[in-house]
Structures are given as structure tokens and as C-alpha cells.
Symmetry: C2
């Protein structure tokens, strides 16, 4: 149906795993893409840091640019495909150059959009161009499309997701093998699962970037990554994973964004979820996003969150949309209409899992229960654990509370410290209802 | 970004649950839709069989047409929204009239498209108009969009789905309550879960319609509902549900479409799936669709398959796409380029679950095993079940085979009948790998 049947010409910046994945699809599925897009999609030029590297793909037909900015400005490029990464430097400069030169942009760069989404959206609209970023969130899962287009008739209530496969791999491997964090982290590093700066993964930053993009679309607000409450998985202990499993829970690095009367809550933190829920059953590097709207109810999307094929699939979905002539504003509505998010510290009540190591003496537990009561928190379950070989002057106590606010939990755990019966700092982990 | 900022005017045919759901969203979310669509979306005219019925919505601002064909042709209608149902009669006539009059069509009518998809797609393209049908498949799940757009860079390998909530309700209720089919069918009828012709649900026809639409998009073939192998749930016994559960399986009415070297396999039949798989865990009226592509791997989508809100959400997603000016061919590529499907009888091998009631005498089991061996089928698991209170001259034997073709299974079960040891006809249910 598109009026324009001339080939859509891609300039591809970045020839790592994802870039080569895009090359493979463009070369391997030319007829299929032409049928679906209504016109051919071709690559005219590429750029990467090292032109001499062997990349397991025939790049001989493409012009080579050393500078991605030069690539972005080429006359024979209609769409600038950015799969380099990095939220400053070449990726940002080249994206801005592409828009200024009147090119559409398809990007897998969550960091770039999390930091500069608003200004880039404004630049795209001023140029009458699109920025598409399906590949930036949850790999091959078409979640940006589902949220921005498929569910556009909904007032969204909440978006949630496990969106960093490396963290989910580490947490599920800790549980299945009974290994501590440090050991599995080292395994993941050796398997090549970690970013060059591992804190992007295990610190929750990468997943936090993705959550901030979903929140902007869902709630019509400007991307506000700075106000995502971030807590990585580095402090998740194998003890808590095991004890939570005994109680029917799994620990996930879970992002939650919801609009409340006080403002926008965004958090990317370790949470307990029921073991038999879709999120609880997510294994290894798989991602899952949960979208909740006022009409549609709950939609759950699951798939590979990274890797050559899935990420390139997402890039090509965006490219084919552009070839078909379909565009929409970057975050689903005009950039000028996006409201500044009013950030709200998480205050939505939830049950909490508490683990404490107490002096095993009369009255210790009563003191803890008193602290909870004074914080207005009631107890749903309590267990005292006798660990074989543990010192017998101490007791491990697990409590699952009824719903409480994060502030109430902080108040109570601060009070625990004054009881004189705590041996270690207590652990408190939110139980997200899913 | 759309050039056209005039209101998009809907003519709504059908004021049942879904139609009223659409009215509620259009009226309740006017500002949100205008922001997202770039222009207002309004309803100008409606039609339904009974104008006097109280519908819990304010319809006073809309023109009323008794005849949906007249509605479809109105000058003040841009998009004809068909939520009446039925694959002939008014729904078909009005849809054709809308296209002929240059209107886009948004429909929830799976039967109409399953029977007349090719001719309607051709009519739409001749008129330069779109037919969108997200609401026709899997209710609120944006699966048509995911498959046609998000995964457009993939050669699809297989699409699967549990897409009739009523059947899934009946099967999960049979299992949880231990009740026979007839009892739960009657419950479902009293709860209003069944179509006026229940065979549309329990005969697998409705779900088969949906599968045929997914297959057309996935494989670039003309809709071929007539060649969907259909088997409903009427013969699923509570015994098999219980015995399969003991072996770690669930029985689902599962649709599978896959392109093979011999042609297109499409089947909508009761299958066993692992209890701990996403499909196995699907409860009640929820739907699930599994999309498998060569690049993306496996994507799983889950959500409400029916109901006012979810179905209206799907309709509105399509409407907002049209308001944004985004269109694409009905089945994702030009109708003329869709190939006639070469139907292939299911021949993809799979493990099978077999249940037999045998005379409990020496050599009986050996005869069965011989039949399987002669059909080239090897046995993965075998169990003899002693049911309390069962006649002691009979034995129930369960077998899970290694992978076998449906033809091999038919050959073996036919041979069982000649052994002289079978008391009842054997039950054979495919175990789909998911």
C-alpha cells in the first residue's frame, strides 16, 4: 500500500552482533521483506570502528564510512540504523546528525534515549522524522509496538518487566545451583554475558533505562531515568533466594512503573514474586514485560531479551514499518505534549519479606513484633529457621508482612536496630503482586 | 505526525458487549486518544438490531441506522467498525459496502475473514483501504500487530495458540474440580460463556478461524480455513485429563500452524502440553499465542481472549493506527502475492499419549507393544493403572511414545483393534512440544 516503491536505503552504524544480525536478515530475506514492506530494503553504507575485522558476513557491496556522523548524512541513506551503543559521543552525534539531515532513525540504544529522549524526540518532530527503538527494550519482544500502538486505547495502570537477561540468568543460576552471587557473577563474566561495565547489568542501570522508556510511553510523560529508584542484584544473597523459594517465591530484578496520585513511581529493584506466576517462572536470559491497561487488563509478553537474531528482528520490524510509510511520534504522542513527570518515591503498599538474625534469647522476637506493630505493620507469616551448623546463640527469623509502605518498612527496620537483639542488619525485600 | 488533523469518524455496527466497550473508550478517553492519534476520534453513527434496548451508554449524540449497509455508506463515516459477527448476511454485506464506498474497516469478525479473507483483502486493496482485525484473534492481545509488523523481518516457523477462552475454561475447570465434560459444559452455558451455537466454541471452529488468519499472515498464504484439521473438546474425558496430569501434562485445545516441505499444516485439536510450560499453566478464559520466527526465536503473548474491555481495546488500537495514517495490506503483504496454501495433512512427528483398556490376561500387553513396534513407534513410558473399583478382568494401560507421525499412530491403533485384547477404542492424543 505504500506510495513509495523505491528501495529503502539503510545506513548501518555498528557491526557488532546486532549489526551483523541486521545484515543477515536484509541479505537473507530480501524477497520476503520486499513482499511485506511493499518495496525492497537495502543497505547502502556501514560504519564500524575496525574495518578490517572478519565479521562472518559479506559487506563488500556497502560503502564504508569511518565516521558514523558521515554515514548518517549520506545522500544514499534514508534510515540511519544505530546499533553502536553509548549515550554520548558518536552514537548521540550521529543520531542528531541523521535527524538534522532528514533521515529516520532506528536504534537499539536504550541509554541514549533514556538520557536524551526528550531532546531527540523534539529534534525528530522538528525534522518530520521518526525515531524507532523496538530493539532498545526487551530484545525481540515487540513491546514498544504493543504499548505505543496496540494498547493505545488504554489508560495504562502499570508496566512491569524483567528486562535484563544477564541479571535473570545470574539469579536463576544462583537458585538452581545453590551458588553465591560472586561465583555466578564470575561465571557470567566468563560466558561473555556481562557488559564491559558490569554495573550496567548488575546495577540495574540497563534495565532502568528500559523501564524509563516504557514509562514515558505508558503515562505520556518525559523520559525520567534520573528518578528511577535503582537497586542492583549485588546484595541478593543465596540465603534469601533459598529461603524465599521455600516460601513459594522467586527473586527477580523487577522494574515497575505506575502513575499514582502523588506522581510517577519508577523502580528497578530485586523483588519477590510468586514462584508459579509468569514472572516467577522466567528462567535464564529470557525477558518478560507485563502491561496493564484499564480496558485490556493484563498483557504478558515473553521472549529473548538479547542476542543477534532477536535484537535484529526488532530492528527490522521498525525498518519495515518505515518502509511501509508508517510513523508515529517517538513516545507515542507529540514531544511537546509529554508532561514533565512528577517523580514519586515508591509509596505503593506491598507485602514485604523480612529476614533477621536475632540473638536467640527470651523476648527477642517480641521486640521485633513490637517494632512492626508500632510501624503499623501486621504479620502474615513468621518462621524461625534452624540452620544446621549455625551458632546456637542466634536465630534466623523470616517474616512476610501484610501490605506496608516502603516508609513503614524503613521505620520498622530502623527501630529493629535499637532493640539490642539484632545480630546483622535486617533484609527487607518487596513482594510485588503480579 | 499525521497530516490530517480532522476528527476520524467511526460508524459502529453492533452494540453488544464489544460495541458498547468501544463507545466507552471513545467517550472516556477522548483527550488521551487525541494526544496519541494526533486527531480526535469520534463516533458519528451506530447501528444495531434493537434501537430501544437499554445499553448502559449514552448514544444520544449518534445518528442511528437500522441497516448496517446504510451505516457503512454514510458520508460522515471514515471507518466502519464491525462488531456484529456472522460470516454472511449483514456483516459481509456491510463490510463490502464500506470498502466499496472508500471506508477503512475495523472488525472483530474472525468468521467473516476466515471465510472471505481473500476476496475482502482484494476489495480493500482495490479501494486503497485497510481492513484491520486485531480484535478478531485472541481478544486484547495485540498478536496481529506483533506478527504482521513487529516480527515482519522473520521467516515464521510455527504459530500456536490457545485462542478460545471458553474451551480453556472448560478444560481447566474439569481438571480442578474433577468433573466430566458434560457437567462443566452445562456450567459454562449457564454462565453465558458459550456462543449461541456452542459448537463454534467447543467444536474448535472459532479457534480454527483465528488460527487460519494467523497462518495466512505468518506464511504469506491465502486464508485456508477449510483445511484446518478441527477436533473439538467434546471427546476429552476427565480420565485423560487426570491421568495426563499425573504424568506432568495438561490437555489444551491447541492450534498449531507450520509450513513444512509438504505444505501447510494447520490443526486445532486437543493436545497434551507440559504442565510447567507457559501453555500448560494457562488457566480459565485467558488466551496465549506463541509465535516462532527464524530470527526472534519464540515469543509468547498472553492476555484476556474476550470480554468488553479487552476486545474494545483491540478495536481501538486499530482505530488509532488508522487515525495516525498507518496502514498496511490486510494480511501483511499484497493480496495478489498471497500464495494458495498447499494443505498438508499433519505429518510432523510428535510424542503421543495413548490410553487403552485391555483384557487383563497374559500376553495382552505384548500384543500392543508388537503393534507399536510394527508401526515403527518406540515407547518412552508405559504405566498400568489399577483404578479402585474397576473390574478386575481389565487393565488400563498408558503409553507415552517417542516421536511418531499421526499416520504411524493411526496405523498402530488400527492394528490394536485386531489383537482381540482391546476392550474400548484406544485414546491417542498428540503431545505438542512447546
Amino acid at each position: 500500500m505504500p506510495a513509495n516503491r523505491a528501495p529503502l536505503r539503510l545506513g548501518l552504524a555498528g557491526l557488532g552482533t546486532v549489526g551483523i544480525g541486521v545484515v543477515k536478515i536484509v541479505q537473507g530475506h530480501a524477497a520476503l521483506i520486499t513482499a511485506r514492506a511493499g518495496r525492497p530494503v537495502i543497505i547502502t553504507a556501514v560504519s564500524a570502528r575496525d574495518a578490517t575485522k572478519n565479521r562472518d558476513a559479506d559487506l563488500s557491496g556497502y560503502a564504508w564510512e569511518t565516521d558514523p556522523v558521515a554515514l548518517a548524512r549520506r545522500d544514499d541513506v534514508d534510515v540511519f540504523v544505530e546499533v553502536m551503543g553509548g549515550h554520548e559521543g558518536p552514537a548521540r552525534l550521529a543520531t542528531e546528525a541523521a535527524l538534522a539531515a532528514g533521515k529516520d532513525v532506528v536504534t537499539a540504544n536504550k541509554a541514549l534515549l533514556a538520557h536524551h529522549g526528550q531532546s531527540l524526540a523534539e529534534a525528530a518532530e522538528a525534522a518530520g522524522r521518526a525515531i524507532r527503538f523496538e530493539a532498545a527494550v526487551a530484545g525481540g519482544i515487540p513491546v514498544i509496538k504493543a504499548l505505543t500502538e496496540g494498547l493505545a486505547g488504554n489508560q495504562m495502570r502499570r508496566v512491569m518487566g524483567v528486562m535484563n537477561g544477564t541479571c535473570n540468568y545470574i539469579l536463576t543460576r544462583m537458585q538452581s545451583a545453590g551458588l553465591p552471587y560472586e561465583t555466578v557473577f564470575e561465571e557470567a563474566r566468563q560466558l561473555g554475558y556481562l557488559e564491559a561495565d558490569p554495573n550496567l547489568d548488575v546495577g540495574g542501570i540497563d534495565a532502568g533505562h528500559k523501564l524509563s522508556l516504557l514509562a514515558a510511553i505508558a503515562f505520556g510523560t518525559r523520559v525520567d531515568f534520573d528518578n528511577v529508584e535503582l537497586e542492583g542484584i549485588g546484595n541478593v544473597s543465596i540465603d534469601d533466594i533459598t529461603l524465599a523459594a521455600d516460601m513459594g517465591y522467586r527473586i527477580k530484578l523487577l522494574g515497575v512503573a505506575q502513575m499514582t496520585g502523588r506522581g510517577l513511581e519508577q523502580r528497578m529493584t530485586p523483588c519477590l514474586v510468586p514462584a508459579d506466576s509468569p514472572l516467577g517462572q522466567l528462567q535464564g536470559g529470557t525477558n518478560m514485560v507485563v502491561l496493564e491497561g484499564d480496558s485490556v487488563g493484563q498483557i504478558v509478553l515473553r521472549g529473548a531479551g538479547a542476542g543477534m537474531g532477536p535484537t535484529a528482528s526488532a530492528v527490522m520490524g521498525d525498518v519495515i514499518d518505515l518502509a511501509r510509510g508508517n510513523r508515529l511520534p517517538v513516545f507515542g504522542q507529540p514531544a511537546a505534549s509529554l508532561l514533565a513527570a512528577v517523580p514519586a518515591k515508591s509509596a505503593t503498599p506491598a507485602p514485604y519479606y523480612l529476614r533477621m538474625t536475632l540473638l536467640d534469647k527470651p523476648g527477642a522476637l517480641a521486640k521485633i513484633a513490637t517494632c512492626l506493630g508500632e510501624a503499623g505493620i501486621s504479620i502474615d507469616q513468621m518462621r524461625q529457621i534452624n540452620q544446621p551448623g549455625a551458632q546456637d546463640d542466634r536465630a534466623i527469623v523470616l517474616i512476610v508482612t501484610h501490605k506496608a509502605t516502603p516508609a513503614d518498612i524503613s521505620f520498622a527496620t530502623a527501630a529493629f536496630g535499637k532493640t539490642g537483639v539484632m545480630i546483622d542488619a535486617p533484609v527487607a525485600i518487596r513482594i510485588e503482586s503480579v
